[in-house]
């Protein structure tokens, strides 16, 4: 990047399945005010505002235009980003590029979703091709269920392994005051929860949340002058997949698929040979338990086919050597347009040492986050306490 970029502040709303106490604009403003307060800035310090959410989830288009009061974009340049499940990270990517280019010094990034106001399943089915696959659009649950049966058949994993992921996520969420599903559950609870689409049970899936996240990105001078604990964006990478080719469905594929391509690119850029050692914490986009196991493998935290061994051995626990999603992850909170940004903000909190009760016990210097969505694509972000390392 031409100029170094830091996260100098951020904020999130609390997350819940009902937020009738606020409308969309009011909810967005809640996150914006939290982020400004956290960065010790006023809206006058902000040069540009980038906002995003899932297309039409709340029944309104052009949310960047009609949310100007709540977002703080009045009189300022800005734009809307809408890239599916990845949107929260794509907003940060766009913000980082604007700061890195020298165009702006301080950019406010906002991701939100108020899922209760729309029909998520119905609108998601509109993502599928109208003549090819829409009739079968089994919402996200069907997609991940098929991936799971493929994963189980390929590697010999069993339902208990996904249950371990379900428990880890919700137990971590209990330590996160902003998380949606704070559930004191056991493996037995997960294995006995209602079957939605074999082998995906209720506790294998993310909730449908309302909430927003906002981040403020600044150039190096502002970050050093005004922020005690800037978190530096070391690298961001995006990799698309192609429509119709559901590569995550075939966990043994040898094709250079989005997740592995993106990870390889970011590791190459930063000279990383062992990501499990290089990064101190991971915040990954896990809408379903099985997706987390596939991420372990695609990120190179273990060999292909060993993701379920990693969770079995407790390696990715909050106190383990490779902590994954100490926040509770998407499995505990999924306000889709904000979810990928929450991964970045939660990782930044870990680097700052500000995560509170869900702070991982070891020293955190570097973190990696992933986003996931659309027709299978990802945005990854590598963060560090040090702009050069």
């Amino acid at each position: 990047m031409k100029r170094k970029v830091a996260i100098v502040g951020g904020g999130q709303t609390y997350h819940a399945s009902r937020r009738h106490d606020v409308n969309q604009v009011e909810m967005v403003n809640e996150a914006v005010r939290a982020a400004l307060a956290n960065a010790r800035m006023s809206i006058d310090d902000i040069d540009a505002v980038i906002l995003g959410n899932m297309e039409f989830f709340e029944g309104c288009h052009m949310t960047d235009c009609w949310m100007v009061d709540g977002s703080g974009a009045y009189g300022k340049p800005g734009l809307k980003i809408t890239t599916g499940g990845t949107v929260g990270a794509t907003i940060v990517c766009a913000g980082a590029h604007h700061v890195a280019s020298g165009l702006f010094d301080n950019v406010l990034c906002i991701g939100f979703e108020k899922q209760e106001e729309g029909d998520t399943g119905a609108i998601l089915s509109g993502v599928a091709h109208p003549l090819y696959g829409r009739s079968m659009a089994g919402a996200a649950v069907g997609y991940f269920a098929m991936m799971a049966t493929s994963y189980m058949a390929a590697w010999g994993a069993r339902e208990v392994h996904s249950a371990l992921v379900a428990v880890k996520a919700r137990q971590n969420a209990r330590k996160n005051p902003y998380a949606h599903l704070k559930l004191d559950i056991t493996v037995e609870d997960a294995l006995n929860s209602r079957m939605l689409a074999y082998p995906i049970r209720m506790l294998d899936m993310c909730p449908s949340s309302n909430g927003a996240c906002a981040l403020i990105l600044s150039d190096e001078k502002t970050a050093r002058d005004r922020c005690k604990k800037p978190v530096w964006i070391r690298a961001m990478e995006t990799a698309h997949n192609e429509q119709f080719e559901l590569d995550w469905r075939d966990v043994r594929t040898k094709r250079p698929i989005f997740s592995k391509v993106c990870a390889a690119r970011i590791y190459n850029k930063l000279g990383i040979t062992d990501p499990a050692k290089y990064f101190d914490v991971f915040e990954i986009y896990d809408p379903a338990t099985w997706a987390e196991l596939v991420w372990y493998e695609d990120l190179g935290l273990c060999a292909p086919g060993e993701g379920f061994r990693l969770i079995e051995a407790g390696k990715t626990d909050i106190g383990g050597p490779i902590p994954v999603n100490p926040s509770g992850g998407v499995l505990s909170t999924n306000c889709i347009g904000a979810s990928a940004m929450l991964r970045i903000w939660e990782a930044a909190l870990q680097i700052r040492g500000d995560a509170g009760e869900h702070q991982v016990p070891k020293k955190v210097r570097r973190a990696l986050t992933t986003a996931y969505g659309g027709t299978n694509w990802t945005v990854m972000t590598a963060l560090s306490e040090n702009p050069g390392d």
Partner: protein, 171 residues
């Protein structure tokens, strides 16, 4: 936490957005759907560079960014790459009606194709009866009832379960 102390009534109003569209399939998908309807045949298209046979057919190979060339007729048979037993009464967006659960649907990779196709699987929704890697064969609507979309495929099922009368539909 939410503002529980607020005493005023909070209004939320149910609304439905109903928007008509006309979707143009283009020549590649049109040929695929026409062959399915008229002749009960599946066609993929092959990239001249990487040789992948892609289904549904499309103009450009996304990987090589070259124009796809050869049309490849595929047998209506393949293997089950993944499946689920769906217990939720999900609405079929194309009809507005729910599919009756439990039902099985899966991803089938037709022999010779690099792509998978998602569709219903006609098999008892019992986990012991379904395996990734099973052979599958498509069952189509009778010719006179086909309309030129994927619903012309009724389902896939293990070839052993197919009756002679069904196979005749492909002739």
């Amino acid at each position: 936490m939410p503002n529980e102390t607020m005493e005023q009534e909070l209004i939320d109003i149910p609304m439905t957005v109903d928007i008509p569209y006309r979707f143009a399939a283009g020549p590649y998908l049109s040929k695929f759907l026409t062959e399915l309807k008229e002749n009960g045949k599946f066609f993929g298209i092959q990239c001249p560079r990487c040789q992948r046979v892609q289904m549904p057919p499309r103009i450009v190979c996304a990987v090589c960014h070259v124009k796809n060339g050869n049309w490849v007729e595929l047998k209506p048979e393949g293997i089950l790459a993944g499946f689920t037993i769906m217990y939720l009464p999900l609405t079929d967006p194309t009809t507005g009606k729910p599919h009756q659960p439990p039902f099985v649907y899966g991803s089938v990779r037709l022999d010779g194709s690099d792509s998978v196709l998602d569709h219903f699987i006609n098999i008892e929704p019992v986990i012991d009866k379904i395996k990734v890697g099973m052979r599958m064969r498509a069952v189509l609507r009778p010719r006179k009832d086909r309309i030129g979309d994927l619903s012309d495929i009724l389902y896939f099922e293990p070839p052993a379960e197919q009756k002679k009368s069904v196979n005749e539909e492909f002739s």
